[in-house]
């Protein structure tokens, strides 16, 4: 096991180095959610006047979206990096070492998740400075961090699958707008019970992203909401299981060594 852990460490270290040495990619991905947060919390503040809106601060309501966008960054990072390794032949180089395939997957995802978690920590710090209050208290911050981590891992697994399946960084980037559409067809901008258009509310109800954002939001706005939390953790865990199972299968096909 220590051998596997060491291998994961080597791959993750390389993944983090690569990402941090590409500021042109990392910086927009980290700054963009903060800009969106500033614009939304300023421009949509009036939404808090809607009857039944769960908080008087749109900043409290909107910051959960940043965490999901950070996780989305982990998706594209792990996907494009793995696709890049396939395109350049680096995966073949790794395949010629005693490296176990699972170490490639876990290491690459660990690197992407690290970057996602760094971004999320930044969002949280900026949010707290800007006046966000975590209703669930310090314990809630710990649970919030755990859920963000789980979401990042799940999304990175999905990204890894896309990268391994397509072998093309461009293809992975091409999925990004679709993921964004999926985000906006959820309850990220408005609580589901305040969405008046039936088809939108139905899609948002079936959209798993809604349950992730509602779980994150519950810790910030409501306090301890068991239903929102178990749903959020269950959806995140499902992303992890599905993402990793699919990515593992795609990786074994890619590393078709004997």
């Amino acid at each position: 096991m220590s051998g596997l852990a060491a291998q994961v460490g080597w791959v993750a270290r390389r993944s983090i180095r690569r990402s941090l040495r590409q500021p042109a990619i990392v910086m927009p991905a980290i700054v963009f959610p903060l800009v969106l947060l500033a614009v939304n919390s300023g421009g949509l503040e009036a939404a808090t006047k809607l009857p039944g809106f769960p908080t008087t601060s749109y900043l409290d309501f909107a910051i959960a979206v940043c965490f999901l966008q950070g996780a989305l960054f982990a998706t594209t990072t792990s996907g494009t990096e793995l696709a890049h390794d396939i395109e350049t032949g680096f995966l073949s180089r790794l395949s010629l070492t005693p490296l176990r395939p699972v170490a490639v997957l876990v290491g690459q995802v660990a690197g992407a998740v690290t970057i996602g978690v760094i971004g999320s920590t930044l969002y949280l710090v900026v949010g707290l400075i800007a006046g966000v209050r975590i209703e669930a208290g310090p314990g809630g911050v710990v649970v919030l961090a755990a859920l963000i981590l789980l979401i990042c891992v799940g999304f990175a697994g999905i990204g890894a699958f896309m990268g391994l399946r397509t072998g093309s960084g461009e293809a992975v980037q091409g999925v990004f707008p679709l993921m964004f559409v999926l985000f906006f067809l959820s309850s990220i901008n408005l609580p589901r019970d305040l969405i008046e258009v039936d088809w939108f509310r139905t899609i948002a109800t079936w959209n798993p992203i809604s349950y992730l954002v509602e779980a994150l939001r519950s810790l910030i706005i409501t306090g301890w909401d068991g239903t929102a939390l178990w749903r959020g953790f269950a959806v995140a865990a499902a992303f992890v299981v599905i993402g990793f199972a699919a990515a593992r299968s795609a990786l074994l096909a890619r590393m078709e060594r004997t």
Partner: protein, 327 residues
């Protein structure tokens, strides 16, 4: 060096979708410590063979052992014994040369002390000590190839696979890489399986050469033996005065059988290329002034031409990109 450091293959086949046979039943025997040159045009099946022998691609039929282990069933043991620099120097442009050595050494299970010592030695040997802490993205093609070679050697492999290691390199870098490969075989006893499309490379570097065309080995032997099969060297002489052609022909006739010549007259040397000096002296003795004198020794291209009916250069452009790339 262990005796279990050779390469054997029997009836090795790799078929791709659509029934394309990139490798079509090749047999190989590479002795420990030997440099084996696998020569052929683009798309001949060289890289597919390397991918199979390095366990990255399962054979469709036939069997092969590398270092005494079956490539299809004992991939892990094979990989522990081999180093490989594949066709593209797959490096990470955002890592330094030293970081590459660290990563490769770490994945092979070397300790920190071993990684540092071995990495330093290899970087120095390939002339990259000064550039070791620069990102690889700033390296030249030759530097990348040399780093690729150093990475392949980090775990002291008994068998080294080099897939077209000098393609695209300038003559100086090519020469430096040849020297290092030759040193590895002669001093360290490493078995080297080298693919190339360069005649000169196979001629200079390889102990034995296998010529592959359209997935099949069409000739195999030492470069000297293969060329000897093509017959003796010929000399073409063109006298400065066209009236001296007959006299020139009679002088040349003393050294062998007449041979065709584009200009002047030619002879196939009975005693080999060493006779050239004698010919010059004989012509001078007869007072014949020579405008042009050429020695034409059989080349591996002549061997390729004889075996396939095409020249290697012509085949290269004809079969460009014909070799399927596994995805």
């Amino acid at each position: 060096m262990s005796e279990r450091s050779g390469i054997e293959a029997e009836g090795l086949v790799r078929e791709f979708k659509g029934g394309i046979r990139a490798v079509d039943g090749i047999d190989l025997h590479v002795a420990p410590g030997e440099i084996y040159g696998f020569l052929g045009p683009n798309g001949a099946g060289k890289s597919t063979t390397v991918l199979m022998l390095t366990t990255l691609l399962p054979p469709t039929a036939g069997r092969a052992t590398v270092g005494g282990f079956d490539v299809a069933r004992q991939g892990g043991q094979v990989r522990r014994r081999i180093g490989a620099a594949l066709q593209e120097a797959a490096l990470d442009n955002f890592l330094t040369g030293r970081e590459h050595m660290e990563l490769q050494g770490g994945l092979h299970g070397l300790t920190a002390a071993e990684r540092s010592e071995r990495g330093g030695v290899l970087l120095e040997r390939v002339g990259l000590t000064e550039a070791a802490d620069r990102k690889v993205g700033g390296y030249s093609g030759g530097m990348k190839r040399r780093l690729d070679l150093a990475l392949a050697l980090i775990h002291r492999p008994a068998i080294l696979f080099l897939d077209e290691p000098t393609t695209g390199l300038d003559p100086q870098s090519r020469s430096a890489l040849w020297s290092e490969v030759a040193r590895l075989a002669r001093e360290d006893g490493v078995t080297v399986f080298l693919t190339t499309q360069y005649l000169e490379e196979a001629d200079v570097l390889a102990d034995r050469v296998g010529i592959i065309d359209r997935g099949q080995i069409v000739a195999e032997g030492t470069p000297a033996a293969l060329k000897a099969e093509m017959g003796q060297a010929t000399v073409e002489a063109e006298p400065a005065d066209p009236d001296d052609v007959e006299r020139t022909r009679s002088v040349l006739a003393r050294f062998g059988e007449p041979a065709a010549a584009a200009k002047g007259c030619g002879v196939q040397l009975r005693g080999g290329p060493d006779q050239l000096a004698e010919i010059v002296r004989a012509l001078d003795g007869e007072g014949i002034r020579i405008a042009n004198l050429q020695l034409h020794a059989p080349s591996l291209d002549d061997v390729f031409l004889a075996k396939t009916g095409r020249s290697l250069e012509g085949a290269a452009s004809e079969d460009e990109d014909a070799e399927p790339v596994p995805v």
